[in-house]
């Protein structure tokens, strides 16, 4: 008897009792649906994190000033002013910092009012250098970005993020137009491509100006060379920790710091930012895993129960099959194939319900749910395995029946 014959025999038996088979599969169905949703939630969260990382610019270190107050001595000019444009300049050295691919100092001011004729919009104005574009992994949809020349002569030019451009200019192309910031006119030289939002800020709502312009005309303050943040980009993902070490030692040297506990700056990575801001809803995931495990267990017991009933009910059929030449091994395989098909049915329906549930749930909860085909296949394989696992005992009982007793049974 070939495997296809055995599977066909199993399928015939399932079809002969459609309702019963469906009800038996129900437990496995619920379990597999829960597995699909659990995995979907986990994968969705991972994809969300990956997407945020990509949106923020990969391989990125964020250097912030003066978070250290230890000893109270190393305050310098106050905690916000310990980083300077010269620090940023020093990090670009290819000899001292070979693993750093780009450096962008940031000096920004929120709540700046931008005006274009009758349209006005309040947003954050970011002062930075020409390397910002590659460090933050952004692109332009039109125009050009700030150049080194704009930087050196503190030019009155601005690059708008996509949402900001839409708010001020509607559907028109703003490049070449002019906006006023604090009543000072600036020429729009470019528009950024949309990048979505990271965990806390809308990346598409900002205005970029040269950092010299920002320090002289917008942010002001006493120390015109200080910056608020320095973005450091490693040459590759794998060099991130090397870039971290280089940044740390260069800045410690420049700030004459000998012990890291007295540092007047902090270096964070994107990963650490993300992990604190986006946590997967663990309660929901645990609940689903619990439901999945319980219903797969109950479903498996259901399969065993129905298979035992089926063996009892079809004792005569088993006797006949043995009389016609069915060996114990073939009888056992027949019932195992039947049990595995109950599992398969439950698995397939569970995947359908799980994917359907994911589509519905997407609209009800904030967590994204991803459907991954390899996981769906694994879920179906699990369902079949459960069917077979719980079918072993009933199948062994069927195989053990003596043909005479089986044929005599009514």
């Amino acid at each position: 008897m070939t495997w296809s014959d055995i599977l066909r025999t199993g399928w015939d038996a399932i079809r002969a009792h459609k309702l019963r088979s469906m009800l038996t599969s129900l437990g496995i169905l619920i379990g597999i649906a829960a597995v699909v949703l659990t995995v979907g939630l986990g994968e969705g969260a991972q994809q969300k994190v990956a997407k945020q990382l990509a949106a923020l610019g990969g391989n990125l270190l964020i250097v912030s000033p003066g978070s250290s107050t230890s000893g109270g001595v190393r305050g310098g000019f106050g905690s916000a002013n310990t980083l300077t444009r010269a620090d940023a300049e020093a990090l670009t050295s290819k000899t001292a910092a070979p693993d750093i691919g780009g450096v962008a100092p940031i000096l920004q001011s929120s709540d700046q009012s931008l005006v274009n004729g009758s349209a006005n919009w309040t947003t954050t104005v970011v002062g930075t250098t020409s390397s910002w574009l590659s460090v933050r992994a952004r692109t332009l949809s039109s125009g050009r970005f700030i150049s080194d020349a704009d930087e050196s002569n503190a030019g009155g030019v601005v690059v708008l993020a996509s949402d900001t451009a839409t708010e001020l200019f509607g559907p028109l192309d703003p490049v070449g137009q002019s906006v006023t910031i604090n009543s000072v006119p600036y020429q729009v030289i470019g528009v950024l491509t949309s990048a979505g939002s990271d965990s806390s800020t809308n990346l598409d709502d900002q205005a970029i100006v040269p950092i010299s312009t920002a320090s002289q005309r917008i942010v002001g303050g006493t120390s015109r060379s200080s910056v608020q943040t320095i973005y450091v980009k490693a040459v590759s993902d794998g060099r991130l920790s090397a870039a971290y070490q280089e940044t740390n030692s260069i800045l410690q040297y420049r700030h004459s710091i000998t012990a890291s506990s007295t540092s007047d700056f902090t270096i964070t990575t994107q990963q650490s930012v993300i992990s604190t801001t986006s946590s997967v809803d663990n309660t929901l995931t645990n609940l689903l895993i619990g439901i999945a495990a319980l219903s797969l267990l109950v479903g498996g017991i259901g399969v065993m129960n129905i298979m035992l009933v089926s063996v009892k009910e079809r004792t005569r059929e088993i006797g006949l099959r043995k009389a016609l030449g069915g060996t114990p091994a073939l009888i056992r395989r027949q019932f195992l194939s039947e049990a595995s098909m109950l599992g398969l049915t439950g698995g397939l329906l569970g995947v359908v319900v799980g994917v359907g549930g994911a589509v519905v749930l997407r609209h009800l909860i904030s967590n994204p749910i991803a459907i991954s085909v390899p996981w769906l296949l694994i879920a179906i394989a699990v369902a079949i395995t459960i069917g077979i696992g719980f079918g072993v005992y009933p199948a062994a009982r069927a195989a053990r029946l003596s043909p005479i007793d089986a044929l005599r049974s009514e």
Binding site: M1, T2, D5, D12, A13, R15, A16, R316, E317, L320, R321, K322, A323, L324, G325, G326, T327, P328, A329, L330, P403, I404, L407
Partner: protein, 239 residues
Amino acid sequence: MVSALGADAPTQPLPGRPGPVIELDDVRKVYRTGSIEVEALRGVSITVGQGEYVAIMGPSGSGKSTLMHILGCLDRPTSGRYRLAGEDVAEMDEIELAEVRNQRVGFVFQQFNLLPSLTALRNVEMPLSYAGVARERRRRRALEALDRVGLGDRVAHRPGELSGGQQQRVAVARALVTDPDLLLADEPTGNLDSSASADVLALFDELHEQGRTVVLITHEGDIARRAAQIIRLRDGAVT
């Protein structure tokens, strides 16, 4: 017909066996239920030659069911020798017995024992699938067997859509399809009305005329008398 059915190797009667189909030598069968021993067969010796038509007759409790089980290799004798088509089957294990049942014996039961969810064709195919015959050949041979019993136009019907007589003829086709050495019928007309009974018995007569070895177990004298030889059984022994 016989030659047409015998075309395939796995179920072809082994050549060079001119001897009797059944040689039963002093077969005893003892059933134990707890401490009680029941001797169902007390030294039965029977020989059935190739192409013979033998009826085994006896009242209920005479041991004819036990004898039928042993003849059909569904059970092993407690002692004695049983050679089926020259092969000693008394000492065979369960797997070997399954193979012997599949290839050497064709069963016809009182209850027909067709699977209700399968068509006549697939019921007839079943022994061939256990014999490992490829699907295409299986189908062809099952169709031939159904044709042989006059049901060539009912192959797609399920047992529930067939009359009792037709169902039993499907069962006969299933017994014939492996081209067995022995056709073993246990009260084949017990569940049939008289015209269907006559029908089925006529079929057995025909098969006998074509050279089949038929052993028919019954308690009815009328039916037993159609056979060439009657073996009467009483209290587990041949009388």
